[in-house]
C-alpha cells in the first residue's frame, strides 16, 4: 500500500467503454477506466478475464493477431485516440513500452539487447549507446552484475536477471508508460521482490500498468487496482481502500479467495 489518500492525478490513459473481440468472440465488454500518470495501476482478476487483452490494446500489439479488433469505445493516451488512422504506431510503441510475462531477451549479447531499441531508432553513436546502456542497466540494478560480461549472451543470466534485462531494454527506448504483463509469475520470491522494488522506484518517472495474479503483489506495490471479471470491470480504485474496504461483494469474495 503505497499511497493512502486519493491523489488528484492527471490521467495518462483513458479507456472509454471499450469493447474488444477475437474474431466473433467478444472478450471485453465495455470497460471504462482512467489510469493516472506516475502511479502504478494493477490489473487483477481470474484467469481469462481479459487483463492481458486490455493491456495489449494499450500499445496496439494486438493488431498482430488476425481477426482481433476493437469493436467499440476508445483508448486515449495523452489525449490522443490511439486508433486514429494517422497514428504513428512505432512512436506509440516506443512511448508505451511493454514487458512480457515470459522474459524474452533476444539471443544476442546483453549489450545488444539493451541497444536494440536505440539502434532501431537511429542511434549510431558508440559513446551515446554505451552511456544509455549503462544507465538503463543501472536503473534496473543489473549493472554491477553484468558490467564485465556485456558482450556475452543474455541467455546466460538467471530468470530474474533476464526479466530485469527486459525491463532495462524497455526503459532504454525512453517510454512514458510501461506495461507489464505478469512480469513476476515465473520468478522466485527474491527476484520478485527485486522487480517490485524496481517498479516502486520507476514510479517517479513512469506511468506503470501491471497485470498480476498475485494479490499480495498488487497490494504491495500498486496505487490503483482494477478488478476484472469475465471481460468486465468490477471495481476500480485506490488499492488500500479496495483491499481494506471493497465496495463490491464480488471484490471481497475475490480478495478473500472465495472465487477466481
Amino acid at each position: 500500500m503505497v499511497s493512502d489518500s486519493v491523489q488528484p492525478a492527471i490521467p495518462a490513459i483513458e479507456i472509454e467503454n471499450l469493447r474488444f473481440s477475437y474474431g466473433t468472440k467478444e472478450v471485453i465488454h465495455g470497460v471504462s477506466l482512467s489510469i493516472p500518470a506516475n502511479q502504478i495501476t494493477a490489473f487483477i482478476g481470474p484467469s481469462g478475464c481479459g487483463k492481458s487483452t486490455l493491456l495489449r490494446c494499450l500499445n496496439r500489439i494486438n493488431d498482430r493477431i488476425p481477426g482481433a479488433a476493437i469493436t467499440g469505445g476508445s483508448i486515449r493516451i495523452g489525449g490522443i485516440d490511439i486508433s486514429r488512422p494517422d497514428l504513428d504506431l512505432q512512436v506509440l510503441r516506443r512511448r508505451v513500452g511493454m514487458v512480457f510475462q515470459k522474459w524474452n531477451p533476444f539471443p544476442k549479447s546483453i549489450y545488444d539487447n539493451i541497444a536494440y531499441g536505440l539502434r532501431i531508432h537511429g542511434e549510431t553513436n558508440r559513446k551515446a549507446l554505451d552511456e544509455k546502456v549503462e544507465h538503463s542497466l543501472r536503473v534496473v540494478a543489473l549493472w554491477d552484475d553484468v558490467k564485465d560480461r556485456l558482450k556475452t549472451s543474455a541467455f546466460g543470466l538467471s530468470g530474474g536477471q533476464q526479466q530485469r534485462l527486459c525491463i532495462a531494454r524497455t526503459i532504454a527506448a525512453k517510454p512514458d508508460i510501461i506495461l507489464l504483463d505478469e512480469p513476476c509469475s515465473a520468478l522466485d520470491p527474491l527476484s520478485t521482490l527485486k522487480v517490485e522494488e524496481l517498479l516502486l522506484e520507476l514510479r517517479n518517472d513512469y506511468t506503470i500498468v501491471i497485470v498480476t495474479h498475485n494479490l499480495a503483489q498488487a497490494s504491495r506495490c500498486s496505487d490503483q487496482t482494477a478488478l476484472f471479471y469475465l471481460g468486465e470491470l468490477i471495481e476500480y480504485g485506490n488499492t488500500s481502500q479496495m483491499f481494506q474496504a471493497p465496495r463490491e461483494k464480488r471484490t471481497e469474495d475475490y480478495i478473500t479467495g472465495a472465487f477466481g
Binding site: I61, P66, R93, F100, K102, N104, K108, Y116, G117, I120
Partner: protein, 373 residues
C-alpha cells in the same frame, strides 16, 4: 506396500521378448540401408579412387582435375606397345613419329585429358542456381510467413509450392527450355526474327527471344527446381523463431521489416542454410534440367575463356559433371579404356558433393555460433 512380491516377474517375459523383436527389426532395417549405401559408395570408390589418387606427391591426379576433356586415342606403335594419348598429345606423337608408326588406332570421345570443364561448369551452375533460389525463395518465404494474411488462398499457394517439389526434373528441363531458352526477355539493338515480342525502348529493344542455351538459363531452370524446397524449409525455419522475439521487437517500436531483419531472419538463418545444403546437392546432381538449357558434351574453352565481358560467362554454354557422366555412360561404347573417365568422373562428383555439403555445414555452424542462444 501391499504385495511387494508383485515386483518380481514370474513365467515367460512377454514384454521383454516383444521389445527384443522390435529392436531387432528396426536394427535390421537400418543395417539393410547401410548395406545398400556401402555397395553404392563402395563401387564408386573402388573404381574411382584409383583414377583420382596417385602414389607420388601430390597424391592427387591433378591432370584429371585441371585438364580439359579430349578424345582418347588408343594405338600400338611399331614395337607393338600400346599407347593411350589424349588428342593433343596424340597429334604431337604422330608428327614426331610419323603417321605410319600408328597401328590399330581406336578413338574414344570425351575419354582423354581431364574433366576441368565439367567441374567448373557444375560449380558455376550450382552456385548460381542456389543463389538465385535463395534470393527468390527466402523473399517468398518471408512474405508467406510474416506478411501474407493466413487464409484459404495462402493455404492453396503453399500446397501448390509443395507439389512443385514432386514434379519430375525433366519437366523442369522442358519448362526451362520453353521459357528461359526461347522466351525470356533480353535487351538488344537488333531483335531476332524468332523474337516473340520486341518492345522498342528508344535506345534499344526489349526482346522476348530467350537467353539461348546458356549458363544463366540452366541456372534459372535449376533454381526453379529447388525453389519449392527452399521456400518450404525457409518458411518452417521462420515459423520456428519464437513469437516472443517478434513481439519484443515490435513493442520496442520497430517496424515489421526491422523486426524481420534484426530479430527473425538471423535466427532462421541456420535452418535456411541447412535446407540449401540439400538443394545444393540436388542442383549439382541433376541432368535433365540442364540437358536442353545449358549443358554441352564437348567444349574447348572454359566458361571464362574467349568471352568479351563477364556477361559472356553467363550467356555461354557449359559442360557439367552429371551430364558428362551421362554422356560417358550412354553416348559412347564402353570399353576398358573408357572406365578411367567414367569412374573418375563419378568419384570426383561424389567428392564435390561432399565438399559442398561440408562447406555449407561449416557455414551454418559459424552463423549459429554468432547467435548467443
Amino acid at each position: 506396500m501391499k504385495n511387494p512380491e508383485q515386483l518380481i516377474r514370474r513365467g515367460v517375459h512377454r514384454k521383454g521378448i516383444a521389445e527384443g523383436i522390435v529392436k531387432t527389426f528396426l536394427g535390421g532395417m537400418t543395417w539393410a540401408v547401410i548395406a545398400v549405401a556401402l555397395m553404392i559408395f563402395g563401387r564408386m570408390i573402388w573404381d574411382g579412387a584409383p583414377v583420382f589418387f596417385k602414389k607420388e606427391a601430390p597424391f592427387v591426379n591433378m591432370d584429371f582435375l585441371t585438364k580439359k576433356t579430349e578424345t582418347l586415342h588408343v594405338f600400338d606403335d611399331a614395337e607393338g606397345i600400346r599407347h593411350q594419348l589424349p588428342a593433343s598429345e596424340f597429334h604431337q606423337w604422330k608428327s614426331s613419329h610419323g603417321t605410319d608408326a600408328v597401328f590399330n588406332e581406336q578413338t574414344f570421345s570425351y575419354c582423354g585429358g581431364g574433366i576441368a570443364g565439367p567441374i567448373v561448369g557444375t560449380v558455376l551452375l550450382t552456385l548460381l542456381s542456389v543463389m538465385m533460389a535463395l534470393f527468390f525463395g527466402v523473399s517468398a518465404a518471408i512474405y508467406l510467413s510474416e506478411y501474407a494474411k493466413q487464409g484459404r488462398f495462402i493455404g492453396w499457394v503453399r500446397l501448390a509450392i509443395l507439389n512443385l517439389a514432386g514434379v519430375p526434373s525433366i519437366v523442369f528441363g522442358l519448362f526451362g527450355f520453353a521459357v528461359f531458352v526461347l522466351a525470356a526477355p533480353i535487351l538488344t539493338d537488333t531483335p531476332a526474327d524468332r523474337s516473340l515480342l520486341a518492345i522498342p525502348l528508344g535506345f534499344t529493344h526489349l526482346s522476348f527471344e530467350g537467353w539461348g542455351s546458356s549458363l544463366i538459363a540452366g541456372a534459372a531452370t535449376l533454381a526453379c527446381m529447388i525453389l519449392p524446397v527452399i521456400i518450404t524449409a525457409s518458411e518452417e525455419s521462420l515459423k520456428a523463431v519464437p513469437q516472443g522475439f517478434r513481439e519484443a521487437s515490435l513493442a520496442l517500436g520497430a517496424t515489421r521489416w526491422q523486426t524481420i531483419r534484426k530479430s527473425v531472419l538471423p535466427f532462421a538463418m541456420p535452418g535456411i542454410l541447412t535446407s540449401s545444403v540439400l538443394s545444393l546437392a540436388r542442383a549439382a546432381g541433376e541432368t535433365a534440367p540442364i540437358m536442353f538449357t545449358a549443358a554441352v558434351a564437348a567444349k574447348d574453352d572454359l566458361p571464362w575463356e574467349g568471352v568479351g565481358s563477364p556477361l559472356g560467362v553467363l550467356t555461354g554454354q557449359v559442360q557439367a559433371l552429371p551430364y558428362h557422366i551421362y554422356t560417358l555412360a550412354l553416348k559412347i561404347p564402353t570399353s576398358e579404356y573408357t572406365e578411367r573417365a567414367q569412374f573418375g568422373s563419378v568419384f570426383v562428383f561424389l567428392l564435390m558433393i561432399f565438399l559442398f555439403s561440408a562447406a555449407s555445414v561449416v557455414l551454418r555452424n559459424r552463423v549459429r555460433a554468432k547467435m548467443k542462444w
